[in-house]
């Protein structure tokens, strides 16, 4: 294995200006927000086309070096741009491959290269008159469709499932071969169904490239939603931690019938307030203790939010036309007398709720990034289990999770993103990465949480780079063997991101 020879050949092919080994670059590309430390790569390369990516993969096979692809590189809380291990050559696809290749306003899809960010696509759709919207996350606006979809990321509107609402890929396999998936796989150059039909002849290979390391995706079709003329949100604040049980029971029927077209964001106090202000309690305990219940109550009052606040939205022809739907939801959620209704206009005055509205509206926003300063020192990791939409189960999980955070002196910050049958529980672990003790507690908390949830039959939706091996080890041996066998078939020399999601 010779990285030097690889880089030499790569510079010959790409041009030396597209191979970066400057010290400051390598330091930055190794940085992340995890407790386990940075992972400095050997080089950063900027391919400009699918052909160049394929050529680099073939060179990597020749020289037996490991490549780590990243697209927009905003994988915050999950590893940022860090590879599973130090010393790999990062392919920063986003730098040069950042074109919106196609927007079809009749069929409602866009085809994008890896560097196209949520913000770029949203801007372009707006420029074209705003007839269409793309689903966006409430995370970094400069994150993008390809990296996010491949990591099974999600938004909050009807097209929230970013992998599910993608259609048709172009992929460079670990061998250097290039394939098109779905209807793109026919040997022709008029691929009219590539980005409109997911399932035609043959096996559905697309899923192989999500949360894996079998290929490098260089093009993806993403479906667009007609932008409604008006979007009207509604919000309900509930006073007690245990109200989660009632909330989940209330959300389920509204989603089962799809009466509410968006997902429900069921966020706890510290998730919402944490995106607005730093912890007022951190300094007092030096970060060794969780914030007290009294301090939480005070924050809830100050910000006009509940122990849990539920947000959703309707899409319609005008704000007024949605009045009957809003009334019905208000009646439904306020029936027990526990909820306080927060109407759309009032919510727009509260940054954390305005952020929810933006996420229902395909509008990228920075607001939620404020969560990263809840504690000082920049540590941030996401634990992402889920619960069936059963109130008692959800509440049991809530108590379980909260206790583990408290045992480790951390602050419970959770948003349950609820659909009809399932809610993803986005647990934020904020910690001071400059404090070794807090790092150790963050790591211990993550593992304890994962163990406790696995014991109840629950895996995570996405794994931060520090714990991908740990999660893979929890799966049944035959599943792990199947993953490894696919790796050997598509990437026999293991050149693409060895270890990503625990696959070697």
């Amino acid at each position: 294995m010779s990285m030097d020879a690889f880089l030499n050949d790569a510079a010959g092919g790409l041009g030396a200006e597209h191979v970066n080994t400057a010290d400051e670059t390598l330091v930055r590309y190794g940085e992340n927000t995890m407790p386990g430390g940075d992972r400095r790569p050997a080089a950063v390369l900027y391919p400009g086309s699918t052909e160049e990516v394929a050529a680099l993969v073939r060179l990597a096979n020749l020289h037996r070096v490991a490549l780590f692809p990243t697209s927009t590189g905003n994988n915050m809380g999950l590893g940022t741009r860090s590879a599973p291990a130090a010393g790999m050559a990062v392919l920063d696809l986003g730098r040069r491959m950042n074109r919106i290749l196609e927007i079809d306003e009749k069929m409602g899809f866009a085809a994008v290269e890896p560097g196209v960010s949520f913000q770029m696509l949203a801007d372009e759709l707006k420029r074209r008159g705003g007839q269409w919207m793309n689903s966006t996350t409430s995370g970094p606006p400069q994150g993008g469709m390809i990296g996010n979809a491949l990591d099974k990321g999600a938004g909050y509107g009807p097209y929230f499932d970013h992998f599910g609402f993608s259609c048709g890929m172009e992929v460079v396999l670990g061998t250097g071969d290039v394939i098109r998936t779905g209807d793109g796989s026919i040997e022709a150059d008029n691929l009219v169904n590539w980005h409109v039909s997911k399932y035609s002849f043959g096996p559905i290979l697309d899923g192989l490239f999500a949360q894996s390391n079998y290929g490098i995706v260089t093009r993806l079709g993403v479906w667009l939603l007609p932008r409604p003329p008006a979007i009207r949100s509604f919000h309900f604040a509930f006073p007690d931690d245990s109200d989660l049980e009632e909330i989940v029971e209330l959300c389920r029927p509204m989603k089962m019938s799809n009466f509410v077209p968006t997902l429900f964001r069921v966020a706890n106090d510290l998730y919402l307030i944490g995106s607005e202000v730093p912890s007022p309690a951190y300094a007092a305990s030096g970060g060794r203790k969780s914030i007290s219940d009294d301090a939480r109550k005070a924050l809830q009052r100050e910000h006009g939010l509940g122990a849990w606040t539920v947000s959703g939205a309707f899409y319609g022809p005008s704000m007024e036309a949605m009045e009957p739907q809003v009334q019905r939801v208000v009646g439904h959620f306020c029936a027990s007398g526990k909820a306080t209704y927060i109407p759309h206009e009032e919510a727009m005055e509260k940054p954390a709720l305005a952020c929810a509205v933006a996420s229902f509206s395909g509008e990228p926003t920075n607001t939620e990034l404020g969560l990263l300063k809840w504690r000082p020192g920049g540590g941030n990791a996401w634990f992402t289990p889920g619960t069936p939409m059963d109130g008692r189960t959800a509440n049991e999980f809530q108590k379980l999770g909260r206790a583990i955070y408290e045992a480790n002196g951390l602050d419970y910050q959770v948003m349950n993103v609820a659909g009809p049958r399932f809610a993803r529980g986005l647990h934020v672990i904020s910690f001071n990465r400059e404090d070794p003790d807090e790092c150790a507690r963050a790591d211990a908390a993550y593992r304890a949480l994962a163990d406790a949830f696995y014991a109840r039959g629950v895996a995570v939706g996405r794994a931060p780079v520090d714990w991908q091996d740990f999660h893979m080890d929890k799966l049944m041996p035959s599943f792990r063997d199947a993953c490894a066998a696919i790796k050997r078939a598509l990437d026999p020399n293991g050149v693409i991101a060895p270890g990503r999601y625990g696959i070697y």
Binding site: A22, E24, T25, V27, R28, E31, T33, Y46, T72, G73, N74, M76, T80, S117, Q119, M120, D123, E124, K126, R127, G129, G130, Q131, W132, M133, P140, P141, Q142, P226, R227, P228, P229, A230, I231, S233, P317, S318, M319, H344, E345, M348, A354, C355, V357, A358, S361, G362, E363, T365, N366, T367, L369, L371, L372, K373, P376, G377, G378, R433, E434
Partner: protein, 472 residues
Amino acid sequence: MKTAFTAAQLAEPEIAAADGILRTCVHYGFCTAVCPTYVLTRDENEAPRGRIDLIRAMLERGGRPDAKTVGHIDSCLSCNACMTTCAVDVDYLHLADIARAYIEENYRRPLSDQFVRRLVSRTVTDPARFARMTALARLARPVRALLPGRLRTLVDLAPAGLPPRRDFAGVHPAEGARRMRVALLQGCVQQALAPEINAATVRLLTRHGIEVVVPPEAGCCGAFTLHMGKADMARAAAARNVDAWHAELDVGGLDAVIVNASGCGTVVKDYARLLAEDPARREKAAAVAAIARDVTELLAPDDLKLPETAVPLTVAYHDACSLQHAQKIRGRPRALLRAAGFAVRDVPEGHFCCGSAGAYNMLQPEMAEALGRRKATHIESTGAAAAAAGNLGCLAQLGRFTGLPMLHTVELLDWATGGPRPDALRDVALPEPVARKQTVAPTGAPGAPPPAPPPDAPSDASSGGSTGAAIW
């Protein structure tokens, strides 16, 4: 980020302030993706995070800064896109100001560099001198090829001619009942280059019942020199303005100090900090800063006195960095333009700087030109018939790269509420006027301008705002 300043270093207030800011940066790097110089170069040292590291090293080391560090700080636009994106609110703006002042004091620039910087800082901030230098540049144009590169840039950037000088000093009474009394900053270069902006501002405000005073002693706000590291010159300018406005405040009372160049507005709003070490003025500066407003903050869409008909011209609205990133004003100018009957288009890559950035386009012409062309292409891609912005610097910079008429927001608002048709629109074929009630058609009607968002709502689409009726 950890820092390693000695106790002696920390005894200096500037170093202590820098230390406080540096410690907040945790290297997330959200800022890099939105930094224009990074996006164009992909050099980590051309990104905010890289610059923050370089500033830390420079200040910790003390003594003379190295040329590499100075180069990377000089190439920063001060556009503040990084501050809008930073998750932990690192105060890059003030860190960069501290670094620039440090460089100014401790670094010896090459003579040609010193000469150009001195020329720029003295010329741009003084309307009379600016007029003389413009005339000189005109004479030099035929021999520009013989000039050294930096001077050639200045000659190229100088306007072909200047409009007749107008001075707005004095009191401009409100029409009808007086609702408010405000002081207007008439500025330095704007006064020479585009007096029509101040004229439109005075007409617009007085028409809406606002008395406008322009104290003759007030002048350049200090922004140019501040961003060049010439903090003493900037403080002197600020002190003069604070004295003049505070005297007005004392005598006739002021509801606001109005700034119609957002680059200046950002600095005026920060006068309390700039003059914090000036005991005689500290409090006065805070009082002035507290009432400083961009001109669009003063008028609400509902306040506009609109005639029966509107000209539904399509206008691309460009967010000046100083308005969107520093003052966080995005929704209000759009809402005002829409209320006035214009069809407003957003410009793609709106968070990006146009490359004007104060004196930047004179000092860093290559980067400025690349950014100017990029922004102009985006503006043209909207298909709008004209473009508007709230900052003269952007208008002048973009005017070099696009043939589209560039107007200040107040010129359009003045026109729509009864003022003269702006000169920039002289040769533009205008759409037929329409009865006003049609221009405020229900949300989403085809062809109608999108409805006004609530002022500065975080999201422009959150309460509607599409033209999607056709498919809904």
